[in-house]
Point group: C2
Chain length 492, copies 2
């Protein structure tokens, strides 16, 4: 156990670091080159992996070659290939070389920037890049460090929701004069709002019965009605409850709908609710001047979040949260244990990001977003968004031109919600369910579904980094082929 | 905007992916080669970065060379170098080539395994590696998938705390028959327990006044007294409150103390409290047969968490959480939105990890832990832990042999808590504060402090991947030199 034998175990030796890392880079590059050969949706059955790999850890080290062979033989077949150009499911998670480089530097430095002092660059670059990103979205200066607000990088929208809900909760409980009022607090969202907000509200102790899902419909394109929100608030006030928090969405998950921020903002102001804007998906698109109007009224919000890890070429995970009054967030989340006390935090008014998030530890995610923005530049980032929207328009036009199909919800971004028209409405779900299953099980493309206004729709979400027009054209051919088979079967 | 121009913007082109990734690998390898040249604690002043970098994002793309030059010139000087062999602060975050490779594959595949179907390999490898890790720690099968429990990878202990607290809370509220009972729930920990549990309890809506900090002292080596816990519980029951959750620690942050799991487990059983074991730091050490006894009694716990990203050569972030009755966790955290419904989740009883954590989205962290274990093997992982403990013993012996110093808390793992003996007790804090500042500002090493039992101690935490005996010897020389200067100043 002396220093002599130590030399035989060097788990971070720069030479083998370089050689082994290069082998993995080559492995990943090959994966990208061959990605279209794999069925997009994995075909494995539950339990496949435990049937293949040993039940227990090895006692002796194994070679990288053996490990990469297992990754190739056992892991890759079990992946649903989110980076495939034929992946049109959920919302995409579009990777880029720049995002990957940022992740490498983050992991290579492996610093933990919980306090400013624990790695000043991690904190300062994050503050800087949050201002950069905020300016790309033309957020008011009240959300920026260069103004009176500030921003933080979280791992997910749910974390942003938990933190903003806790901040709003604690501010309200202080004003109401006691923790027992927690059962009076009410949160408002629409039936299209991401379910993560319901989960987050329950996590922070808001009774699930105090979560209001405002109904939406085809008539408003599934956007939330400010009048309905007002009615719900008035109802709750009459019942002795305390309206707390309203969540509006730019680009809902089921259909890409947009809530009217400006009008909802007025209601929130009137009743003193915390207004949060969830722009997880479509926030990225608002860097395009022609789409920025969806954020009009943002000055009335208290906080806004969006996910560069969805549509901004930033590898997982990366969620931007801006907040107008960081003090409220910090009051709720701050801790001041002796073990972390230092002069910079005490005397120099620095940002300590541990007080802006759930965890103490944190990765240096800012490097990634900073490199993504610099390596591409606003010009190419706008081009990237427009190119996806252009492909979505093309796909939408294919659907519209084929009378067997219909567009169910008008497209706003790069998500197209369509279906095969059923002969009778009652058959709509089964028919489209079958169509989707046929396409996905074929392996050549992958889409997912939603139910909006009671109608089962197929969602074609365009936006993986590698998708080009010919992939969209091939998808449409595939859909037509499968529809033809289905329709001829139903005739026979 | 047609397909012709599209060809000019290829953000995930395999050829440039390979070339640019290799450039970053070389950059990081150089960083490791030269890491001892940098002052361990960054010397920048608050605001240094915004004085150097532009206020807004560039419109046009920038070259990787320019970006890496800025990383070198602007970011590296602002890092506190957690991978430096002379970093002895906080608890280390020890990186390895294997951990880095796992992060690369995770980021390269960039899949989002929220449900089994969304990438079966991500879920299945995680379940497998949680069982591997649980077996390395000799956890009872009641915590393993191969038994009746299960495990999940979180990003941080705080996330594990939030999730287990929410699970315990929701089970209790169901039994008590209403959400209004949330203000009756009480959480117990010691004054040495990581503050993250207090933050987590508040986050899930437990009133801060219902968090009990059981006092510890030198007499028990700062471990939590089961009798004191029992008294506190009895007190609360008499006041009409409902004892909910007890957190015990293996290796506390201030001094590496260990709570008596078996005895605390009996108390928890008797009063039906959820017992969580926080082994964030020292859990890794329990893979060594001679240290496994610290986990004796673990069969009485409901959940246990530990952080491979601290002392298990696993790059950030990675926190293992095992739970005995996953159903309770899933009941609390599950969501079943239409948009994610699929046959595997519905009919095949698969694990959907979205219901085991805060967020929906998640990174494929299991790859990293799996590669760390395979590439090193249990043999080298044990060697790694023993080697750090051996160096800590060596350092402890240096301190003990120098009569100007004293060991304040007996060492259990690789953390040594010591101080320069003051002539008068009242001067102890100032003297050791000065000593620590002198060492840290010199740049050749970095340590942090704690206050235990009212005494300010310097913490020497040994365990970065690159630390070897000669670094520990140099640290001790540095401490002696600085102490000599301080002591001679105080005489003059």
């Amino acid at each position: 156990m002396g220093s002599a034998s130590r030399k035989t175990f060097l788990p971070l030796d720069p030479m083998s670091f370089t050689n082994e890392s290069r082998a993995v880079i080559d492995f990943i590059a090959d994966y990208y080159k061959n990605i279209e050969e794999y069925p997009v949706l994995s075909r494995v059955e539950p339990g496949y992996l435990s049937a293949t790999l040993p039940e227990s850890a090895p006692y002796c080290p194994e070679s990288l070659e053996d490990i990469l062979k297992d990754v190739h033989d056992c892991i890759v077949p079990g992946l649903t290939h989110w980076q495939s150009p034929n992946f049109f499911g959920y919302f995409h998670a579009n990777a880029s070389t720049a995002g990957f480089l940022g992740e490498m530097l983050c992991s290579g430095f492996n610093v933990v920037g919980f306090s400013w002092i624990s790695s000043p660059a991690a904190t300062e670059l994050e503050s800087l890049v949050m201002d950069w990103m905020g300016k790309l979205l033309k957020l008011p200066s009240s959300f920026l460090f260069s103004g009176t607000g500030g921003g933080v990088l979280h791992g997910s929208t749910c974390e942003a929701a938990v933190c903003t809900l806790a901040a709003a909760r604690d501010k309200a409980l202080k004003e109401l004069g006691g923790w027992e009022n927690i059962t009076k607090l009410v949160v408002y969202a629409s039936d299209q709002t991401h379910f993560t907000f319901q989960k987050a509200a329950k996590l922070v102790g808001i009774p699930p019965s105090n979560f209001r899902l405002i109904e939406t419909s085809f008539s408003t394109g599934f956007s939330m009605s400010p009048e309905k929100v007002r009615f719900a608030i008035e109802d709750d006030i009459k019942s002795g409850l305390v309206p707390l928090f309203l969540c509006a969405t730019i680009g809902t998950t089921p259909s890409g709908a947009v809530d009217p921020i400006a009008e909802l903002g007025k209601v929130a102001r009137e009743y003193k609710l915390w207004l949060h804007i969830d722009a997880a998906y479509a926030g990225s698109a608002c860097i395009c001047p022609e789409l920025r109007h969806y954020l009009d009224g943002i000055e009335l919000a208290n906080s806004i979040s969006m996910n560069p890890h969805k549509w901004f070429l930033t590898n997982m995970d990366c969620c931007c949260l801006w907040i107008k009054e960081p003090k409220i967030l910090v009051d709720s989340l701050s801790t001041d244990p002796e073990i972390l006390r230092n002069n910079a935090s005490k005397f120099k008014g620095v940002v300590d990001y541990k007080d802006w998030q759930v965890a103490l530890s944190r990765r240096f995610r800012a490097l990634k977003l900073w490199i993504v923005i610099r390596r591409h530049g606003l010009a190419n980032l706008i081009y990237h968004i427009r190119s996806d929207i252009s492909m979505a328009k093309r796909f939408e036009a294919f659907v519209a031109m084929d009378e067997r199909f219909e567009i169910v919800v008008p497209r706003k971004f790069a998500l197209v919600c369509f279906r095969l028209k059923p002969k009778q409405e009652a058959e709509g779900t089964e028919l489209n369910c079958k169509l989707l299953d046929a396409i996905n099980s074929g392996g050549r493309a992958f889409m997912t579904h939603a139910v909006v206004g009671g109608i089962y729709v197929i969602r074609c979400s365009i936006g993986t980094t590698l998708t080009e027009e010919h992939h969209v054209d091939a998808l449409w051919n595939l859909i037509q082929e499968n529809a033809q088979i289905l329709l001829s079967e139903s005739i026979n």
